[in-house]
């Protein structure tokens, strides 16, 4: 019971973690390269959500220092996640370019078929 209560108070962390596992599951079980890429993005998003959730403080406002606001959320996670998002975008863009090339060379987006085609030629 105590465990469930803790999980309920930390529900935002829990959701992020569940999202992470969903992304990982998709990554492991799906064969389509685009789906794998989406799974990667889901995982990254889960981590970003988790990181931003760390910065929340009860009753805090966005950290813009305007008069009249006393309590702010922690600005560090938000600042770091900006960097994280840009990195994730870069990875996705490059991966999409590689997917375009893979489709051009192999004519399929199924990872098993690609391995099969490559394997036949090699060995």
């Amino acid at each position: 019971m105590a465990l469930l209560e803790r999980l309920y108070t930390n529900i935002y962390y829990l959701v992020a973690v569940v999202l992470f596992v969903i992304g990982f599951h998709t990554m492991l079980t799906h064969k389509n390269l685009i789906k794998k890429l989406m799974a990667l993005n889901i995982m990254d998003t889960a981590i970003f959500l988790f990181f931003v959730a760390i910065g929340y403080r009860q009753g805090g406002q966005a950290p813009i220092l305007v008069p009249g606001v006393e309590k702010f959320v922690n600005p560090i996670p938000s600042a770091l996640i900006l960097t994280g998002i840009v990195i994730s975008v870069s990875f996705t863009a490059f991966a999409l370019a590689l997917v375009v090339l893979l489709y051009k060379h192999y004519g399929t987006l199924d990872s098993d078929e690609i391995i099969a085609i490559r394997g036949k030629k090699h060995v």
């Binding site: 813009i64 900006l82 863009a93 999409l96 370019a97 375009v100």
Partner: protein
Amino acid sequence: MHDLILEVVNRLLLPFIQLFGMYILFHGHLSPGGGFSGGAVIGASLILYSLTFRFAKVKHRMDHDTSVFFEAAGALIYVGIGFVGLFFGYNYLTNRGVFPLGVPGQLWSSGMILVITLALGAKVSGTILSLFQELLEGGSDEHGTP
């Protein structure tokens, strides 16, 4: 392809989108936003432009060299700004003591932050457009040194 409605609506919308992007850029140190978000909005407007109008026309106006130039220039301004601190005897990328900070809360304040935001805006919009162009052309069979 030639679609009158799309073109007219776009002509109307584009200035406002870009103005909003500029607003985000210039208010990066005052409100949520900054170089990456503002640059992304402007970059998106350029993508919209090239989707609506004929791609060749856009390429004529904003070809690959231009976007490469914007990216490299943005990054070089960033790196160069760091050297200003070195020049005044401080460490790399120093703001306080090197740049005039102004009055916090006003538009022309925060020294280096504003300059870097604008440089990043130019860089990010160039990056987004050139990623779009590259991926669009990558599907075709033409090869050659860019």
